[in-house]
């Protein structure tokens, strides 16, 4: 298993290139096969992964631009492992559920390239390599939203592109400055993250650098007030675009916080802890309220994504093992649940060509299977115990509880609001009598849709009941990262706070 990480990254892209030869009729089957092989590769990686080792595993290193310290440097740890598996899994599910007929070949090739960039982002240990994949992920998504979207698809695609690009150029300046600091301290150029982890950055610089990285990640998450691109992108994107966007692309931002912002700038992270937590709570509550006011089902789920991402950010900035582990678990669970919900909306949109709740009502009686799956996903989304959503949300909030009770309580109201808008959506669309005659003849889930959705349902329940296989490795790597933060912290306050929030049994 020497080069398995390279294999995982470049297999989909290479298959995508070969895909140009495959005939249009077989393109979808080809893409599904490729995605299935890719999923097997990532599962194989999991099998080979040593859960007791909290450091980077399967490391690959080759200098790329040696004069400038840029290298081809890959590695996986507990934090990134499951995000990689999630990317491969959701790509496969999204491809199975794909119903687009027009130019399907171009679409599946774009999706395969997108898969390469997603996996690349999570596996890169060289910051420039990370940036390369980060930027490249924009291109296929631009094409997917812009070419197969609906309505104002071009506006939505360009807005998505410009917003994220704008944020990441600041991150690039930050990266370059960080490399310069490293060069000044050590005399050699390096963009390797493990090298940077050893560098203690002066507090003043930390604040600025944290800001530069934060802008790049926050726009991707998206955090209020940079969130306006997301509802647009989701609103116009085709189902497969929405599924991948919600399930994986947004996680890149929160992954960036965990991987870069916290261990590189621990003092700044502590300084900005409460301000960011407040923004996160605003995200949770504000987005939940907007979600309640939406008429369009897809918009409800889009805003609920923002709301849930708020809890992920909150858990991350609890700066303790529970909070960060919880938020990583929540990234995975939200990936599965929101992906499934977008797919379900896609199912009904395909049948009725509308996503307006007022057009529906009483769907449960004509589409019982659909209503059941939707119901389970809804439970997962609102975080009902024994579903996947509960574990992450509980841990993330528990983590932040040690930091501030009041703020956690406020974030908790977001969950209540979440239950309100989701149940309202369910009530208006599924319960009651059929008011619109057009709904009477709707067919229930077909075999293709069932194939895509049943694994998701199974995971929602399985991981909700028994999350340990994921929590174990994640927790080990997170604990290692936190001790790194504590060692590296420059200010005494930071060390004290990190100790404080990481001790059990104390509430401030």
């Amino acid at each position: 298993m020497d080069h398995i990480l390279s294999l995982i990254i470049f297999f989909p892209a290479f298959a995508g290139l070969l895909g140009f030869v495959v005939h249009k009729e077989s393109a979808k089957a080809y893409a599904i096969s490729v995605a299935a092989i890719e999923l097997c590769l990532t599962l194989w990686l999991w099998v080979g992964f040593d859960a007791t080792n909290a450091g980077f595993q399967f490391v690959e290193y080759a200098p790329l631009i040696s004069q400038f310290g840029v290298s081809y440097y890959l590695g996986v740890d507990g934090i990134s492992l499951f995000l990689v598996i999630l990317s491969a899994f959701m790509t496969l599910i999204a491809l199975i559920g794909l119903s687009v007929k027009e130019d399907v070949k171009n679409l599946v090739i774009s999706v395969l390239f997108l898969e390469m960039t997603m996996v690349g982002v999570f596996l890169s240990l060289d910051v420039i390599l990370f940036y390369v994949f980060w930027e490249m992920s924009l291109l296929p998504m631009l094409y997917i939203i812009g070419a197969w979207g609906s309505g104002e698809r071009i506006y939505a695609a360009v807005k998505f592109f410009l917003y994220t690009f704008f944020g990441s150029v600041f991150m690039l300046v930050g990266i370059l400055f960080m490399a310069y600091l490293y060069f000044q301290t050590t005399g050699v150029w390096s963009f390797a993250l493990p090298d940077w982890h050893l560098l203690q950055v002066p507090y003043d610089f930390q604040l600025w650098l944290f800001g530069a990285f934060f802008l790049g990640f926050a726009i991707k998450v998206p955090m209020v007030p940079f969130h306006t691109w997301l509802p647009y992108a989701h609103g116009q994107a085709p189902t497969i675009g929405s599924v991948i966007l919600a399930a994986v692309l947004l996680k890149m931002g929160t992954y960036g916080f965990v991987r870069f912002s916290l261990p590189l700038f621990p003092d700044a992270a502590v300084t900005f802890m409460i301000p960011i937590a407040i923004v996160a709570i605003v995200m949770v509550i504000y987005a939940a309220m907007i979600a309640y006011a939406q008429e369009d089902m897809k918009q409800v789920i889009a805003y609920s994504s923002i709301s849930h991402m708020g809890i992920i950010v909150l858990g991350t900035f609890a700066l303790n093992a529970e909070g960060i582990t919880g938020s990583i678990f929540l990234m995975i669970s939200h990936g599965i649940v929101s992906g499934a919900l977008f797919m379900l909306v896609g199912v009904i949109y395909e049948r009725r060509h509308t996503k307006k709740m007022s057009e529906f009502g009483g769907l449960a009686s004509v589409m019982p299977g659909f209503a059941t799956v939707f119901g389970i996903m809804l439970m997962g989304s609102v975080g009902l115990p024994l579903t996947i959503g509960f574990v992450g949300e509980f841990l993330a909030l528990m983590g932040f509880f040690k930091v501030s009770m009041v703020l956690t309580a406020l974030a908790g109201t977001g969950i209540i609001l979440g239950a309100i808008y989701m149940l309202t959506l369910y009530k208006r669309s599924f319960f009651g009598v059929i008011t619109n005659e057009a709904n009477r003849g709707l067919s229930d889930l077909n075999s293709r849709e069932l194939t895509a959705l049943v694994p998701l349902v199974a995971l929602v329940v399985l991981l909700g009941v028994y999350p340990k296989p994921i929590l174990g490795p994640v927790d080990a790597s997170v604990k290692k990262m936190i001790s790194l933060m504590e060692q590296k912290a420059e200010r005494q306050e930071t060390k004290l706070l990190l100790k404080d929030v990481n001790t059990v049994g104390e509430v401030r």
Partner: protein, 493 residues
């Protein structure tokens, strides 16, 4: 008393690259006298061969040689910039072999003028004598004006006259600046000028100010720095796409090298106004050109403004003035060379004899609408060039941008680095506009041949080469940096 000069002291090797070109140009003129009916492919290949010989002669230089009574200065940056000029020229000439016949390429004089022009640019970069630089500048410019006019369209002649008028003004400024420097220091050699100025503590300041400002204006016209850029889009619009692409690369690198020789020494002098003037010029050129590019409706004009913006970007290297910045400058320009030449060549193969889409423009954005549906290959190639120009990794220009921004950060110009980053974000919008037209809109053309109407095997080969260089930049960036750094450091920049 007779003056006797030993031939060895002249160091003929230093003029070999230029001499080969001049002899080649004269030979083409002579051949034309005796045999009138030779095809353009003959002259193209002769010109390519002559320039390949010149490349060989340049590579043979060690990187620190002087000759001809110290008039020629073949230092490291002269060699590197000479190579950039020659390689671009070698790639440009075969673009004459398009499938449609265009007037200028049927005339042997075009190729003779072209070689004279390249020789002129080489003189410009390989001297620190203001007089010889002036001669090189004028030789090259006069040849270029003529070549633009030879395109023989109404707009082409307008462009040539516009360029000529502006160029004449710039030449006047240049001569005046050289005169002032001579009056101040009693020399026309940049090294001596700078030394004398340092010794005297830049006294009288008003004289130095005058000389520098005139020089900045003169070079500003050549480099199309705002506010001296007004001719650029019109001239690019009027000339053929191939020549426009060439103009966005070669004359600029020649001007940059002169600016680098003169201003880098002065900018480090502690005379703050010079640094301020350069800073304002860099920021304005990058930003305003980007803003103007946003509103263009023609791809060629958009690329014209984009090339102004790129020029502003690399002008930052001269302001920063560190070794890393200078290396970054050459790296950026080499990366820019392939991508930009590729982008303009893509327009060139889509060149129709008539304007089919717009009364005025040959390449409006709407022409490329839905191109991916009818001509997926060409659309993807053009898309790659656009992404590269926008600085999206891993395509070529990203690496130049990375290196240059890093130089800015390292030298303490954080603000400048942020402006550079912001400008990348603005620029991405107009490059994206073409991508959006090509990939996301509905097609206007029924079949793809319309986008390759002017294509031929040589043109396709050139584009393929540019594409490979753009895509695989990451593979050779490392050795390229090493190569450039060696020469740049050797010449003390």
């Amino acid at each position: 008393m007779p003056i006797s000069i030993d031939l060895a002291t002249l160091n003929m090797a230093t003029v070999m690259p230029t001499l080969i070109l001049v002899i080649g140009a004269l030979a083409i003129l002579c051949i034309d006298l005796f045999k009138r009916d030779l095809s353009r492919s003959f002259y193209t290949m002769i010109a390519v061969l002559v320039m390949l010989l010149s490349i060989g002669a340049t590579l043979g230089l060690s990187g620190s040689e002087r000759g001809f009574f110290d008039m020629m200065l073949m230092d490291g940056i002269a060699v590197v910039s000479g190579l950039i000029i020659l390689v671009t020229s070698v790639l440009f000439v075969p673009l004459a072999l398009s499938s449609k016949r265009f007037h200028e390429f049927t005339m042997p004089e075009f190729f003779a003028l072209f070689l004279f022009m390249v020789a002129g640019f080489l003189f410009m970069v390989s001297s620190d004598n203001l007089i010889l630089i002036f001669i090189g500048l004028e030789t090259a410019s006069l040849a270029l004006y003529t070549m633009i006019a030879m395109h023989n369209r109404l707009k082409a002649i307008e462009a040539a006259i516009k360029y000529f008028t502006m160029g004449a003004l710039a030449a006047g400024f240049y001569a005046f600046s050289a005169l002032l420097f001579y009056v101040l220091t009693g020399s026309v050699e940049i090294g001596v000028i700078v030394n004398v100025l340092y010794e005297r503590g830049f006294d009288p300041m008003i004289g130095v100010l005058g000389a520098t400002v005139f020089m900045l204006a003169a070079l500003g016209f050549k480099l199309s720095i705002i506010p001296f850029h007004t001719w650029t889009p019109d001239v690019y619009e009027g000339s053929s796409a191939a020549l426009a692409g060439y103009m966005s690369i070669v004359p600029k690198i020649a001007g940059f090298v002169v600016a680098m020789r003169l201003f880098e020494m002065l900018a480090q002098s502690g005379v703050t106004w010079l640094e301020d003037v350069l800073f304002v010029a860099v920021v304005l050129t990058m930003t305003l050109a980007n803003l103007m590019a946003l509103v263009q409706t023609d791809v060629k004009r958009m690329l014209a403004f984009s090339s102004i913006s790129h020029a502003g970007f690399v002008l930052a290297a001269i302001l920063i003035g560190t070794t890393q910045a200078n290396v970054g400058f050459f790296l950026y320009w080499m990366m820019f060379l392939f991508t930009n030449l590729g982008a303009f060549s893509m327009l060139w193969i889509a060149r129709n004899k008539q304007n089919l889409w717009d009364a005025r423009y040959q390449h409006p954005f709407t022409k490329f609408s839905g191109m991916v549906k009818v001509s997926p290959m060409a659309a993807t190639i053009m898309g790659v060039f656009m992404f590269s120009l926008a600085g999206i990794p891993p395509f070529s220009i990203f690496w130049g941008k990375l290196f240059l921004m890093s130089a800015a950060v390292n030298a303490g110009y954080i603000g400048l680095a942020v402006v550079m980053a912001l400008n990348s974000a603005i620029a991405v919008y107009y490059y994206m506009k073409l991508v959006v037209f090509m990939f996301l809109k509905d097609p206007v053309a029924k079949d793809g041949s319309i986008y390759a109407i002017n294509a031929s095997t040589p043109l396709k080969s050139i584009i393929g080469f540019a594409l490979v260089m753009t895509l695989c930049a990451v593979v050779f960036v490392d050795s390229l940096i090493g190569f450039i750094a060696e020469y740049v450091v050797a010449s003390g920049f």
